[in-house]
Subunit: 355 residues, 2 copies
DNA sequence: ATGAAAGCGCTAACAT
DNA sequence: ATGTTAGCGCTTTCAT
């Protein structure tokens, strides 16, 4: 027999007062349900968790009691007892980048199917934030972590030390499960495409030194030029943002490039803005190929040639790897290398006429 | 799903065997630290939580012991004991929509400052998923929830019943803190802008019935036409995706609209594709104004006129509201109404000449 | 098949 | 200022 009072606490018939949750409303516990159903807490637990050893009649009673009381198991207590959580943490470096949100979708779909929830954290390309989120993941004892590492930092050491299953995406981490794309090769192919299209003064706009994808894409660019016996190097780095692309391009313009390989779609926005403002026609005056197949690639004129990375599949593969490791921690590290695909469009055709 | 790993256990000197975390590596607990530092667990707790009543010398000993053992407090146990979590859940309807990711950034920044972490969940415009994530939030006893509700559903009833602080964003929820944008007014103004620009056959491409923003924007469109004494209604609904926008537009084209108000930026992509394929010139043949200021708006030719919603500010305001309610649950519900801003660009100028 | 009871790791009274 | 102790709500032996 319970009485709700104004303060959000309720008194049992025996006079004991039970504190309520912060919300102010009393919340039913497993023992409330047990009392209501006239069974032990153990039986409630077994019944609600679908253990086969419980009398169907009791299961029904327990269910009814739980329903009536609006009982929701306390995940904290459950996880504490079980020493495990059905939560995966996904720490990405930019929530506003469609590449990473696609990865998130992939991780989520696979995790969901296996009964895990995914917690998405935005490290914002910032090692401190990354560290903070890793600490949270550690504290909350998540079952595993999918991470796109900001740098080769040792921030993951704590995870390692604690033995938390981890898989890296997009950027490599030594001795770790990972799902990567062969960025260097893709950049090389994209650059070769530019060469093949007849561009002579090919530049590269890439991200900050230390971010592996930025370095790899620059390396791929050089690979292609080397192989073609081209000497001219027009390279510029910037933040992986529109502003970074814009600044890099403005600087590069002094050297009159006639084509640009852009390492990231956020940068591409800045690059295209800068080109437009300089009165340069896309494709005709300056060819552009950018990493990541953004939804608006076909809306610009001429449409943008891109290096499409299989983002969703990266996420899905990472989640599968993570689940496998959670199930079997002693597995040797596995690296999955996915391929990017060049999608040729008008922005790399010198003879393009505006539609 | 659980695997017991014998290899990951360690034996204490006294022969007792302590279970290890799932990862297989033994994890230090507060009593390990206490033993190592030669103090009680209470002192460890106090020292590590910065309680002022602890001897500085002991604090140092404890810190050292914790460091040495690689101790990380178990958040599960802490939260269970404290009956509260420093985690906020943000359930949004589309991670791939920049509008929502901007909201996420806003929520995150404010929460971060207050010492809360944000868990991002993607309901995917799907009531079932939304329900599932709400249940997870309930189970994990998050401190509060920010939600962009899929519909007027009763899925939040459980949250209410449990007393979990909740704030709705983007779409209203009765008797609830909320941060909204006056979509209807914004849609009306956008339509009036179209009328003022000389368009005669103005259509509206909006989202599914039942999604409040979709309905409101349609209503605003009608308001403007009514006020202007226009009879012609060209309305079509579709999913809040590119494909939805494309289909709606293809259908609408039969009625020769000369302008379109598009209720969502994802839809806008499909709309623009359909227009392009039909050989219609943006602005000149068909004026377009779309909701949400996407980063690529200025890259298309002519640049896209948009209704810019203060997404980041919505998220920040929602987080502030939520934190206030967590601190003081008895506050009366507060509704914050933010304004959208029409940004006029070339896509709504009939006389535009391609740059 | 069911119950009693022992914790999971932590914090907060309550002692000292 | 520090230690002792009692739980938070749950699952899971171990009895019965």
């Amino acid at each position: 027999m319970r009485v709700i009072d104004y303060s959000g606490r309720y008194a049992f018939a025996d006079g004991a007062v039970k504190g309520a949750g912060k919300g102010g409303v009393a919340v039913a516990t497993i023992s409330d349900v047990a009392r209501q159903a006239g069974v032990s807490t153990a039986t409630v637990s077994r019944a609600l968790n679908g253990k086969s050893t419980v009398d169907p009649a009791l299961v029904a009673r327990v269910r009814a009691a739980a329903e009536e009381l609006g009982y929701h198991p306390n995940g904290l207590a459950r996880n504490l007892r079980r020493q495990e959580t059905a939560v995966l943490a996904l720490i990405i470096s930019d929530v506003e980048n469609p590449f990473f949100t696609s990865i998130a979708r992939g991780v989520e779909d696979v995790a969901q199917t296996a009964g895990y929830s995914v917690v998405l954290c935005n490290s914002d390309e910032n090692a401190d934030k990354e560290q903070r989120y890793i600490d949270v993941a550690l504290q909350e004892r998540v079952a595993g972590v999918v991470l796109s590492p900001t740098d080769v930092s040792s921030s993951v050491e704590r995870l390692r030390h604690r033995g938390t299953p981890l898989v890296a995406v997009d950027r490599p981490l030594t001795e770790c499960d990972q799902v990567l794309v062969d960025s260097r090769l893709a950049a090389r192919q994209a650059t070769e495409h530019l060469i093949g299209a007849g561009y002579r003064r090919i530049g590269c706009v890439t991200g900050p030194a230390g971010i592996r994808t930025a370095d790899d894409r620059l390396a791929g660019y050089r690979d292609a030029l080397d192989a073609a016996g081209r000497d001219l190097r027009l390279e510029r780095r910037g933040e992986y943002r529109a502003s970074g692309g814009r600044q890099a391009t403005e600087a590069l313009l002094a050297e009159s490039p006639d084509a640009l390989l852009v390492a990231n779609s956020a940068m591409a926005i800045g690059v295209l803005e800068a080109l437009g403002e300089a009165g340069l026609r896309l494709g005709r005056d300056v060819g552009v190929v950018a990493f990541d197949d953004v939804p608006w690639a076909t809306l610009i004129d001429p449409p943008l040639t891109v290096v499409a990375q299989p983002a969703y599949e990266i996420g899905a593969a990472a989640a599968r790897l993570l689940l496998a490791r959670i199930a079997e921690p002693s597995l040797p590290p596995a690296a999955t290398m996915l391929e990017a695909r060049l999608i040729e469009r008008g922005s790399t055709q010198r003879a393009t006429s505006p539609r």
